[in-house]
C-alpha cells in the first residue's frame, strides 16, 4: 500500500537538523527523524498503516489499536512507539490485517453505526478503513448501547452513537484551541465523552464551529450542522480512492 498524495494529508513533526537514522519496515530501509513514531516515519515514506485515533496535529493516543505493528516480535501500536535505528518492523502481515479487521468490527458493533443515513458517510475514516480491510459483515454481535445525542448547539452536533473514543476532539481542544472542551470519562465499556460546560451540553460550552476540535472527528460523531449531503455520492472523499491511497483526511483538506 503506497501513499500517493502526501501533501495535504500530513504535517510530520520532524527536526531537519537531526541526522536521520533508519529502521526496517516490511524489509525496506526506512529513514526517520529523531522524535518520530513508527507511524509518522512510515506515512512520511509512503507506507500506509491503518489508523483512526492518530492525527499529526496533536499528541498520539494509542487507543484505537488499528496501527498495531510487529516490532522485533512484539505487537505494539505504531503511533506510540518511537522509531529507533535497527528496529525490525512488519506492518502488513496477514495476522495483523486479520487483527485490524476484527478491531474494526469491534468498533462497529460497540456503537450504533448506521452508515446508510449518516451525514458523514463517504467521508468517514472508520467506514473507509472497513472497506480497505475488506469488511463484509459485523462478525461480532451488535451491542446496541444507549448513547446520547446533543443537538443543543446552533452549529455543532454530537451524536455519541458514532463515537469511537479516539479522544481527538479532547486533544485538539486542549493542544490546539487551548480549551478544555471534552473529556473521555467513565470506565470500561461504559466510557463516554463528556462536555465541559455548566449543564454538560454543547450549547453552554465554549466550543466554536471554527475550532480545531470541531473539525477533527474522523467519524460522524462531531459534525457541523447545515453541512450534510452536499456532496453527491460518487464525489465524496473515499468514494473512488481508498484510505490507504489518500490517507486519513477531511473533505476540506482537498480544496
Amino acid at each position: 500500500m503506497t501513499l500517493h498524495n502526501t501533501e495535504h494529508a500530513i504535517t510530520i513533526r520532524s527536526n531537519p537538523k537531526q541526522t536521520p537514522s533508519e529502521f526496517t519496515l516490511n524489509g525496506k530501509s526506512t529513514p526517520f527523524s529523531s522524535g518520530q513514531s513508527i507511524l509518522e516515519a512510515a506515512i512520511n515514506n509512503g507506507t500506509y498503516i491503518p489508523h483512526l485515533c492518530f492525527n499529526p496535529k496533536v499528541s498520539a493516543h494509542g487507543s484505537c489499536r488499528l496501527c498495531i505493528v510487529n516490532v522485533n516480535g512484539r505487537t505494539l501500536s505504531a503511533c506510540t512507539t518511537p522509531a529507533e535505528p535497527g528496529l525490525k518492523v512488519d506492518s502488513n502481515t496477514d495476522t495483523l490485517q486479520q487483527q485490524r479487521l476484527r478491531i474494526t468490527q469491534m468498533l462497529f458493533i460497540e456503537g450504533n453505526h448506521y452508515c446508510p443515513t449518516c451525514e458523514w458517510s463517504g467521508n468517514c475514516q472508520l467506514q473507509a478503513i472497513a472497506y480497505d480491510l475488506g469488511m463484509t459483515n459485523n462478525h461480532y454481535p451488535m451491542q446496541y448501547p444507549k448513547r446520547s445525542l446533543d443537538a443543543s448547539h446552533p452549529h455543532i452536533l454530537l451524536d455519541q452513537d458514532r463515537c469511537i473514543h479516539c479522544g481527538l476532539c479532547e486533544r485538539a481542544g486542549k493542544e490546539l484551541d487551548n480549551k478544555h472542551l471534552f473529556a473521555l470519562s467513565g470506565r470500561g465499556i461504559d466510557s463516554y465523552l463528556t462536555i465541559t460546560s455548566d449543564d454538560g451540553s454543547l450549547k453552554t460550552s465554549t466550543i466554536d464551529a471554527k475550532d480545531n476540535a470541531a473539525n477533527i472527528c474522523p467519524v460522524g460523531a462531531l459534525l457541523l450542522k447545515d453541512d450534510a449531503y452536499h456532496t453527491p455520492i460518487g464525489q465524496r472523499l473515499y468514494d473512488t480512492d481508498a484510505i490507504s491511497v489518500i490517507g486519513n483526511c477531511r473533505p476540506e483538506d482537498q480544496s
Binding site: 498520539a60 494509542g62 487507543s63 484505537c64 489499536r65 488499528l66 498495531i68 505487537t75 501500536s77 506510540t80 518511537p82 487483527q99 476484527r102 478491531i103 469491534m106 468498533l107 458493533i109 460497540e110 463484509t136 459483515n137 462478525h139 461480532y140 454481535p141 451491542q143 469511537i164 473514543h165 473521555l184 470519562s185 467513565g186 470506565r187 470500561g188 465499556i189 461504559d190 466510557s191
Partner: protein, 370 residues
Amino acid sequence: PGTFKDRVLLTSYLDNIIEGMTICAYTVGAQEGYIYLRGEYIYLQPHIEQCLQQRRQLGFLGKGIVKGKISLDETSSTSSTPSSMSFDFDIYLHIGAGAYICGEESALIESMEGKRGIPRIRPPYPVTNGYLQRPTIVNNVETFCCITWIADHSAEDFLQQGSLENAGTKLHSASGDCTQPGIYELPMGTPVHHLVSLCHSTDELTGAQVGGPSGRFVTTDQFDLAMDYNQVSTGGSFMLFDTSRKRFDIIENFTRFFQHESCGFCTSCRVGTTLLTQHLEDIKASAKPLTEDKPRCEEIHCLATLINDTSHCGLEHTAGNPVLQYIQHQQPSNSTFGALSNSKIKPIFDLDAAQSDIRSANTSDNNDIA
C-alpha cells in the same frame, strides 16, 4: 484477587514498609514518598497516618532524618549527627477509588495526579517521567519490606534463600479449599505442592490458581512447578480449588473481573472483554458444553488471543488467559469441565445442527455465531 498479603503488611508491618521507603529515598535522592492506598482499604487511613506522624515525631521522617542504626533508647546509636549525613524525606498518603487497573504503575501515577486510571504510553518510563513528570520509583510494599530486611541483615543473608536468579523469599496469600489459609513466606522457587501441603488442602483438588486471574491455573499433575520468576510467576495470590468447584465457573468469574476492571481506553480490551463475557454467559445458558461446540471454542480462542496480543497495557495482555488455559485443558471425558448449568433440561431440538447448513452456505466468514 486472592492477594491479601499487602493488607497484612500495611496493618502489622507498616514500620518495615516506611523504613524501606526511607532507605530507598536516601539511596535515590528522593524527598517525597507516597503510599497509594486502594480505596477498599480506606479503613487503614487512621492507622497509617498515625504511624507516619509517630515517625515524624521521632525524627525518622521529615527534615533532617539521620542515617544509621538508631534504637529508640539511643544506647546503641552508631550515628553522629553532622548535617552531611542527614536528609529530608516525608511520606504522604494517597487514597484510590477502587480500580484494579490503578495497581499498574503508570495508571497509579495517573490516578495520583487526579486523572482517570489509564496506563500511560511508554516510553518515557516512570523512572524518568513519573509523578508530575518527575523521576519516580514505584514498588510494592512487600519489596520495601525486603529492603528493610536486607539493610538490617545483608544481601548475602538474603541470598541464602532461593537462588541467585530467584533470590530471597516471597509472600503468598493462600486461600480457597484448604483448612489453613493465610500468609506464607517461602523461598523463591518453592514448588506448588509444598504450599499446598502447608495450607492443608483437601485431597481432591482440581488445581491451584497461582498469580491471580492473570496468572496460571496449575493442575494437580503440574504441582512440581516452582513458584519463581520463570516457571510460575506470581505476585503472591494462591487460590486452591477442589473437585466440587466447576472450572468453568472459575474462568467465568475471572473473565467477568477483567471486563469490570477494564479501564476502557483501548478497543481490544474495552470491547473484547465484553464480548468474551457474553460468550461465557451464552455457554452457561446453553445445554451444550464447550467441548462439543467447536466453532464457539475457536471463536473465543481467537477473541482471547486478540485481547492478549493487541491491547494497550500489560493487564490486558493477560485478560484472555483464564479462557485460553481452560480451552487448553479441555478433556472431553472429564466431567469437571463443561458448563451444564441446568442438566435437567435437555433440548430435543439441536439449534446449532439445524443451522449448520445455512451457516456454511452463508458468508465467507465462517466464524459467525448467530
